[in-house]
């Protein structure tokens, strides 16, 4: 039985803050295939296309027939725990700080033997288990043996919890509470047990409705936050940055113009100023504080969520300048991910299809409700994934893009979808 996480006591302010030591992060190129799949929440191994043998550890030639045609395939992870050990000594700083630590050897029904971290609810060997892949604090995939039937508080397992960014008992900043999506995110975070939700809002004289309702929630504190104003961002960071565990940057400007149907660059500039430069300002101001607290107790700083768009992958010409601004933000978010990695902060990029709001009025369904978007974000935080494609449109476009990005580009140009 996993002990449910209790709300931690207040921190003793005279003690030095625990710093982050990453677990071993070196992986060969082929092995990064597991990381790439885990970033999307999947456990994949290579399967030989000629003889079907499943490979582990990852490699360049089939162990059975020497074929080089090895393809990554999702695995069920079902297998047998052959043996387990509890580590009481390690030369590695990350593990040294977290001893004792349980490891296992699992024989997958699919064939190979895997070394895994063991969830606390897995009993002694022999035992049926289910192996999954998760990103560890270094952002690299590790394999975990899970019990076939977990308890209600499975997620609070100390080892597992540190690989995820559960909002429970955490303090979160949502950068724009004035949109329906922002308000849905706030509600979802409160429901998920967040301790404090700071909700940013700009241009206070423009009342879009809904902000009063969420500001009535006891966890919510409104903070003036205009991502186009570097000094304002700096001021907010100075005030709350040292307490924020999760940043959710959902502020965006969305217009529906391409190149030819709107003269001038002012609209595109407004999109870039929030969607791209807003992220840059926010990251410059809040990044260091988050990194400094990435090992600060059970509710350490843990994640940065960017609301991007599936249009970031491939330009949607009817919303062409918006797409470009999201593509710029996506590239910058990858830079942010690299810069946050040494501190063990997870950067989560969310690529929704059209949200059911006023700027997507002309988009045919299916459209993503603000509630589903919010729920997908909370799930991503809990699952510890990196890239999220919520909704049917996002899923479909992702598939088409992976299959052949050039074909998708042409389809969007010709058919507009």
């Amino acid at each position: 039985m996993t002990m449910p996480l209790m709300k931690p006591k207040r921190k003793n302010p005279v003690l030095r803050t625990q710093q982050m030591n990453l677990p071993p992060w070196a992986r060969g190129r082929v092995a990064l295939g597991i990381t790439a799949a885990a970033a999307h929440g999947r456990f994949e191994l290579q399967e030989c296309q000629e003889c079907s043998a499943v490979q582990y550890p990852p490699r360049s030639a089939c162990w059975r027939c020497l074929s080089c045609k090895l393809r990554w395939r999702e695995q069920s992870g079902e297998g047998e725990l052959l043996s387990a050990t509890t580590l009481h000594h390690s030369n590695d700083l990350f593990f040294r700080e977290r001893l004792p630590w349980r490891l296992g050897l699992v024989k997958l029904d699919a064939g190979p033997t895997l070394m895994v971290h063991l969830h606390g609810e897995v009993g002694e060997a022999p035992q049926r288990v289910k192996v999954g892949a998760r990103l560890d604090r270094a952002g690299q995939a590790v394999l975990i043996g899970f019990p076939n039937e977990g308890s209600a508080h499975m997620a609070d397992d100390k080892m597992l919890r540190e690989m995820t960014s559960d909002p429970k008992f955490r303090k979160v900043l949502v950068t724009d509470g004035k949109t329906p999506a922002g308000q849905a995110i706030v509600r979802a975070l409160v429901k998920a047990g967040a301790d404090i939700v700071w909700v940013g809002h700009a241009e206070p004289w423009k009342k879009l409705g809904g902000l009063e309702d969420i500001s009535a929630l006891p966890q919510v504190t409104l903070v003036p936050l205009d991502l186009t104003d570097g000094r304002a961002v700096s001021r907010v960071a100075g005030s709350i940055g040292g307490k924020v565990d999760i940043v959710i940057n959902n502020a965006e400007v969305h217009r529906s113009f391409g190149i030819g149907n709107r003269r001038g660059t002012d609209v595109a500039k407004a999109e870039m100023d929030i969607n791209y430069f807003g992220l840059l300002r926010l990251a410059q101001e809040f990044g260091p504080a988050l990194k400094g607290r990435s090992a600060d107790g059970a509710t350490h700083a843990t994640a940065w969520v960017n609301l991007l768009s599936i249009y970031a992958l491939s330009n949607f010409p009817p919303h062409g300048t918006f797409s470009a601004s999201k593509a710029a933000a996506y590239s910058l978010a990858q830079c942010l991910r690299a810069e946050m990695r040494p501190a063990g902060i997870r950067v989560i990029n969310v690529f929704p299809g059209p949200i059911d709001d006023e700027w997507n009025q002309h988009m045919p369904p299916p459209k993503l409700t603000p509630e589903s978007l919010a729920s997908a974000i909370v799930k991503a935080l809990r699952d510890g994934v990196e890239d999220v494609y919520p909704g049917d449109v996002a899923q479909e476009w992702l598939e088409r893009w992976r299959d052949n990005p050039k074909v998708l580009e042409r389809e969007l140009a010709v058919n507009g979808g």
Binding site: E203, P204, W205, K206, K207, D226, T228, D229, G230, R231, A232, G264, D266, V267, A270
Partner: protein, 276 residues
């Protein structure tokens, strides 16, 4: 009172322009003429005019350090800033409005510069605005002012004092609700009188626009912009310290930036006020 004024002016008729100017300089130095700043400070927090989201928007004031005696520039401090032509305390040129688009010398770089120094008449509507943010300056308000202070001279600014600038909270300053903005301004009748009967230089307001917040619903929409700029006159917005000015006798100095074909610009508005 009008006679008194005429007397004062005739005494100076025999002085040369140069001597008059020296006199002003001396009076400024000795404090007999004071300089009052009618300008709001340009900060990112100061609100800007907000149009419906489908329209192009006026940029807010934004400022970013280039360096501050640091690795980006060790011995100096400077900033880059951006804003719209109509951000903060600003000047409206006739070319700003469709009714003034074809007039000669209608942009900030072509307006005759002598217009940038002109007398100002300050009409106090602050008691009425206290009860009604949508208050419109009426013809009656003008007539009442003229009864006390004399006829509004040709070529003078008419400034509507409302104490609106004392609303320091941006939300209160903009004063939006679901039906739009609620700020004071002139009525159509008042504007037409000032333009057609008094040939004024322009209209000045403490609020975000020369027209009232609900001006869109007057006929024609935005009558102050429409008639003033349509007659080649000017506008001043986001003024402050109008409560420090005498109802008559102040002289405004308000040259906008010399922007090529500019429709307006943020500027420093100064009032010269002489002791009596």
């Amino acid at each position: 009172m009008a006679a008194e004024r005429e007397n004062t002016m005739s005494n100076t008729d025999n002085l040369s322009g140069a001597q008059l100017l020296l006199g002003v300089a001396g009076a400024l130095a000795s404090g007999r003429i004071r300089v009052i700043d009618l300008t709001q400070t340009l900060t990112p927090e100061f609100p800007q005019i907000a149009l419906p989201p489908e329209m192009g928007q006026c940029w807010p004031f934004r400022i970013e350090e280039v360096s501050k005696y640091d690795e980006r520039g060790p011995g100096w401090y400077w900033n880059n800033f951006s804003c719209g032509e109509h951000t903060g305390t600003h000047f409206d040129a006739p070319i700003h409005w469709i009714s003034g688009r074809d007039l000669p010398n209608n942009a900030v770089d072509t307006i005759p510069v002598q217009h940038f120094v002109a007398p100002a008449c300050v009409i106090d509507c602050s008691p009425q605005v206290k009860d009604d943010p949508d208050y419109l300056l009426t013809l009656q308000d003008i007539e009442a002012w003229e009864a006390k202070h004399g006829r509004i001279p040709k070529g003078a600014w008419v400034l509507m004092r409302t104490d609106w600038s004392k609303r320091e909270d941006p939300e209160a300053y903009q004063n939006f609700d679901e039906t739009g903005q609620h700020t004071p301004g002139p009525s159509t009748e008042a504007v037409r009188f000032l333009v057609e009967q008094r040939d004024v230089l322009g209209f000045g307001s403490e609020a975000i626009g020369t027209d009232a917040g609900q001006g869109y619903h007057l006929r024609p929409p935005y009558p102050c912009h429409y008639y003033m700029h349509g007659a080649g006159r000017y506008g001043l917005q986001c003024l402050c310290n109008l409560d420090l000015l005498p109802p008559a006798g102040a002289v405004l100095v308000c040259p906008p930036l010399k922007i090529e074909k500019g429709s307006g610009s943020p500027l420093r508005v100064l009032a010269l006020v002489g002791d009596l």
